[in-house]
Symmetry: D3
């Protein structure tokens, strides 16, 4: 399903993800996404933010900047949008005032995409949207492998903010609710000080594979991508990328920046080298346009989504 | 034709002007705009810029920020989009490399809107797009009154840049080509140094009414709005607003800023007080998003377009 | 209670409001504020925001920029902090995840300040914090006069976002809950399009005095300040200033900017000309540092708080 | 002495003030400025700054933005650079480490300009450069009238910083050293809190005419310009404009912003309405490019210098 | 030919490239550059831009920031500007309205530099200026080796924009017009999606050596610099650096950013390791100051030009 | 001595370094720091800056952003603030007008910290503050090893600015005054052009170990950290980090940026790998908030200070 050409795009003046067709939003349920291999959903929700909010406006600017991405992936040697029937499914409408409802709505919409036989891609919004996505994914696929790029473990408990659900907790709930296959959580990019020595205890207790920046710094992302591919085999893999996993130099537009992260090249290569895994979903979260400069974070976010779409396209070839 | 509600807008994730319906761009010619009272066109073209370019990206950001504008105009006590069947007509596709073709395309599209019985509204783009708009307007209506808000006269000749057409020349050509009714050019906001004493000579020779900032500063915009209304009577009036007519404090996002301009309130009031004129078209040009801060220029541009739409709505009541 | 001198302030490296002493936060309840005439509270809460969030960081930057404000008010000819025993009461701790709890905490802390015999000043945070402040105020004083500077009426109902409480609703609840003395709500600065013709209906039904920008533009703020003073007499007056009441040129750092607002001088003069009223509290809300430039919004916010403090100092003279 | 044309300017790629010829800097002493009516000097010195420094880079950006200013002044109906032999005299070299030497160098260079029979114009740099300029002026002309636009009185004593000379003190020394004609100091734009009630005592003791913002707000700048003209008669007038006299909305690029200042139009009009005075020098100080946005402060600074140059040109006509 | 010292530079207040002497622009033809080894030309032209324009202002800001670069190159152990008689040749005057004329003017000026026996260095401006530079180079030297750093291949045809010449096409024309020695085009830094699988077909058909980011990421720039040196031998080499070849983190100020590019160190090292090649010209293009932050892109652009100048100085030693 | 929890921190609204307790600033002399292992001092002084000033505001923003750093260091597996009794000692009050006095005050305060038995950490301010710190250090410990991260050697003489003391000279004086143990100066990160071939002569004459970026680029920071550790043994080591040692992409907020520097990861790793050295003091200088974006430079500065604190904590374990 080809992208609009540059001139078509300019003519329409609208900014669907990657110049893709819009889904038929007037249709109800899975039929809105009929025939799609992939549906891209924006989730303009950031009420799970603990420090600087603003990621709710991410989907608008990720759509706008994704227009610059062209379809043919030279590394994989395939035309992603020719191979893939990909649609912009609009946004999940998540008013900022009801976190429980927001989670419910994301879960329902992701389930709808899955029911339509398509792979869900989410552009956040803050990281709290990953939990409902994984709930829907696991309801559909059973427990899955999760590749998690982030500066933080996101396994916080309610002790800090007196609240069990926020953008620092999705992996905790995904683990404890059983949506992640044991030993198949891969956490990449963690760094900075921890609250205490238990920061990775929950991950460890679920036998997670953890690649903090110290490890990446020495060995690069190639070895760990191989480890992931070897370990996950043909099982479904969900990829969740918190843009703060990348260094603030490359991704200043995010609410909880931590120095010393992945370079843009490492992040892009990491996703690219997952080629061959059975991707069952992806999200790209925590892009905060108000803190961005010259759209560089948004361009990187769009590029990371494109690498994920290429993985999906590779899978659809099989 | 009501705007999308906030939730509908969020759901769709697209950014049509003022949350309005899109025209049927697949249709050919006037039928694309069938039934419309007003068609809003983006013109992402800025190759007529002499100093800092970037206004080509204006339409995208004006669309995005216009989503915040609500429909009911409390001054005129009318619901603008209920009264008016207004459509987003997409952009005029103007590749940046052929100025003559760009003018031709704008003229054709504006003529198409007029042929469909609708009033054209253009969001630039640079000020050179006003000439082809006026060519189409005059071909349809004959010579019209032109209300021109700007820091500059825009009557430059080819002596500076060796080129007869750029963003400093549309009024020259509109006058010399006869698109403006004699004595019905109103120029408001001019200021700063002139190249020489002849800067307003061409305007004067066409008996223009000129209200430089010195005049506005003393008397405000009320009296001049009255003069315009009195003078134009029922004749068709075209309104062209160069955002640099407004002071850089209120509109930093423009390529040729001149200190000492209109305040946002004066500019908005000026348009509002033209209530009752027979508006035949409007453009809002020279918004350069790369130089904006916190979208304040874009929000002002959207508000000025809304005031123009309210004039059109008032007219459609008759 | 004098400010720290510049050198003392530099020595300490901390940024209390206006270089004032901190309250004894280790003390419990009203004793923390014993002897104070005024207590300044930060409220770093913005989960009531509907568009661009970020005002939660307002208190930190308002404190930092308020250090530039000197104590002697030349208009009133009095040394504000010499007259007034003013303390920085720290922040109300409002985690972003529980709106009801946040309202409760603000109400309790404001009540504590009142119980200590001091006047509460709040630096937001978003406008939803005004409702709990008024609840505490009205519980203490009975219904009060409210002077409300804003671009919006803030009387929205739950129909837009499916939620009765957010930053667009505090005045609705304050009216319906009876915290505002009938005929003593003064709303200043409203502008832009309305959702429908009923936008001011609730205010009108409570006999509010409304001064939209159209009115201010013609007559300035002097007459309306006089009207307010005349009408409120000796009764307690609460002043709530949404920084978006001021034009985005002067206050770009806010989440819901609307062009055409008050100038900085009008806003400062308005507060200054309320001299003589019996101020019972004030808040300054919706300053969003991430959208500010060169701290100009924060400096203006600090200046507005200082004008309010001067009103309190004038009152304490009596 | 005409400006370079736009094309000449582009060809040279250099940025002299207002596209003017450079003085012959290889010449020694007054001969460098032989034949000039006006010499513009940059003073890239800001070590007198008490809060945010950076004005040392002002001259570079004021030169760059002044290229947009055209020569013919429509208000005065004269071609400024045709009338005036104006030169860019380069910068006064003021390393940032020796305040006394910097003052000495400025004084010597201004004296050199005066000796050459030209009027000195200074582009700062911080306000401490005004003292040596006035020393040279007064040595040449005797005590002069001083028109001083600023948010501050600049008459601080050594009690705050333990230092008698910084950017908050030039007017103190100019008064006490006798460079200002008694009763001929005009201070315009003061506002904000004062350290204590004595802030204007020194000015008052020298019978200064003070127009704080409260006064300007009511009456505008017209009456005070008339008062100044009437009072100064044919005597030499020095104009010193601290850009922070203008409101931060119009001039964010300055180190000590104070809300509530002059608008750009008031500031420009004020200088314009001094037409007829015998201008003996001017400075424009405290433009801090690092805090500017989209060059709006620099453009305003250049426009204010141009208004001053027009005063000089009017004088040279006589 | 030494740079001005810091104090000389400050004294003059002008901003020639690298504090170098200006050429005698009043002279006609090659005599303007008599005796020069290198002439640096600014080309303030960006009408070949397809996305975000603004590179026309590059030369002004590259000149300003190049003032910080000192003369002695510690890697090569030589004093670049002592060895090299380098001049600032001003700008090629390229009004933005006539692409054909702009190309003609660049070609003529580069030919003039070559005729004077000097090596041309160009600071753009957009990438379309490379074609006329190469036309002049090839006319002088015959086909040359071209080292091309860029995110894009710049071999687009007219199918996208309906125009054969823009900033995405210079390499296409250079190849098809025969200005590049067969097998001596080196393209470094390409990345992101392609329009289709043919993106590098033209380059391949001319036997280009292509080092996309995937290759650089694995092996670094050392090996490819060696390959280039080995292959080009003593033949003339033209170096064209599109700043978007570098990652947006290091070079945000450019109009078509693509994540995942060269680091600043790789780019600088690449040029440095070309030591020994016979450099016949260089350009540095696509620096867009309006999108830059804190001048970091401009500083990098100046540093890259300095590395190129060092190559020229090494060559002049022989 | 634990950090405040997030909620405690929010409650207080103040911003001590790393949420640490404040020293008892009312106490005189060493007793202010009684019992502390480490005292963090801000030094808001930047009058030693030669190019863009503004680092004087560094301490305020470093304090604010350091609040995000958590206490447990996962690399060293220790809780830094549990191990270390660390205090915020406020700022050294350094009015900007007297460089000699500023140096004296810094030296006295650092000596006081040492006398109290604590390790001094300084957050600048410009690099000229390092000299007085080293004077106090050497007076206490005798000559020490100095690890110096910087883009520049900082051994300039008085020939450029006519002044022996500024931010480009602290290492010169530290060497010539004998505060550095012979052969124990380690300089890391130098790059860019030199004034002449003697740039490193002074360092070499003191047998300094120099690791310019060329060396780091090839071998990384691991080997040089090992060399440092081996060489310094148990002797006291002072660490001075000029943030411009890091590449402008990671640290744009600095006054003299030089492209091609350390990455954030290299800088953090370098400090981390000094584990085991006997740290006797540290400074982090040249952070200029006005030139920063989204606080990324400040966050990096805080992270570097935290790595230094971890070194101190490791030492305190012994």
């Amino acid at each position: 399903m080809p992208q609009q050409s540059a001139l078509e795009y300019i003519r329409h003046g609208q900014t669907p993800f990657f110049r893709l067709p819009m889904a038929d939003l007037a249709a109800k349920g899975p039929s809105a996404y009929a025939g799609a291999d992939v549906v891209l959903l924006g989730v303009p929700y950031d009420s799970g933010t603990t420090y600087q909010p603003g990621a709710r406006l991410g989907p608008y600017h990720l759509r706008r900047t994704s227009a610059l991405v062209e379809s043919f992936h030279p590394g994989h040697k395939l035309d992603v949008f020719e191979r893939l029937r990909a649609l912009d499914g609009g946004n999940v409408v998540s008013p900022p005032f009801n976190a429980g409802q927001a989670r419910e709505l994301v879960q329902v919409e992701v389930a709808t995409v899955l029911e339509a036989g398509a792979i869900p891609f989410l552009a956040g919004g803050d990281h709290s949207i990953t939990l409902p996505a994984l709930r829907a994914i696991a309801a559909h696929h059973g427990p899955v492998a999760v590749v998690h790029v982030d500066a933080h473990f996101d396994t916080s408990g309610p002790e800090v903010w007196g609240e069990p659900h926020h953008h620092g907790t999705p992996i905790r709930h995904a683990l404890t609710e059983g949506h992640v296959k044991r030993g198949h959580l891969f956490q990449i990019g963690m760094r900075g000080g921890w609250k205490d020595s238990d920061e990775r205890a929950l991950s460890d207790s679920h036998d997670a594979r953890i690649y903090p920046m110290d490890v990446v710094d020495v060995g690069g992302v190639g070895p760990l991508a191989r480890e992931i591919r070897d370990r996950v085999g043909d099982g479904p893999v969900y990829l969740t990328v918190d843009i703060d996993g990348i260094d603030p130099a490359f991704a200043p537009g995010t609410g909880t920046p931590v120095p010393g992260g992945l370079t843009s090249r490492e992040a892009l290569r990491l996703v690219r080298e997952l080629a061959g895994v059975n991707l069952c979903g992806m999200d790209l979260v925590e892009v905060c346009p108000a803190l961005d400069h010259a759209d560089i974070t948004c361009h990187l976010g769009a590029a990371l989504l494109f690498e994920g779409l290429a993985l999906a396209a590779l899978g659809s070839r099989k």
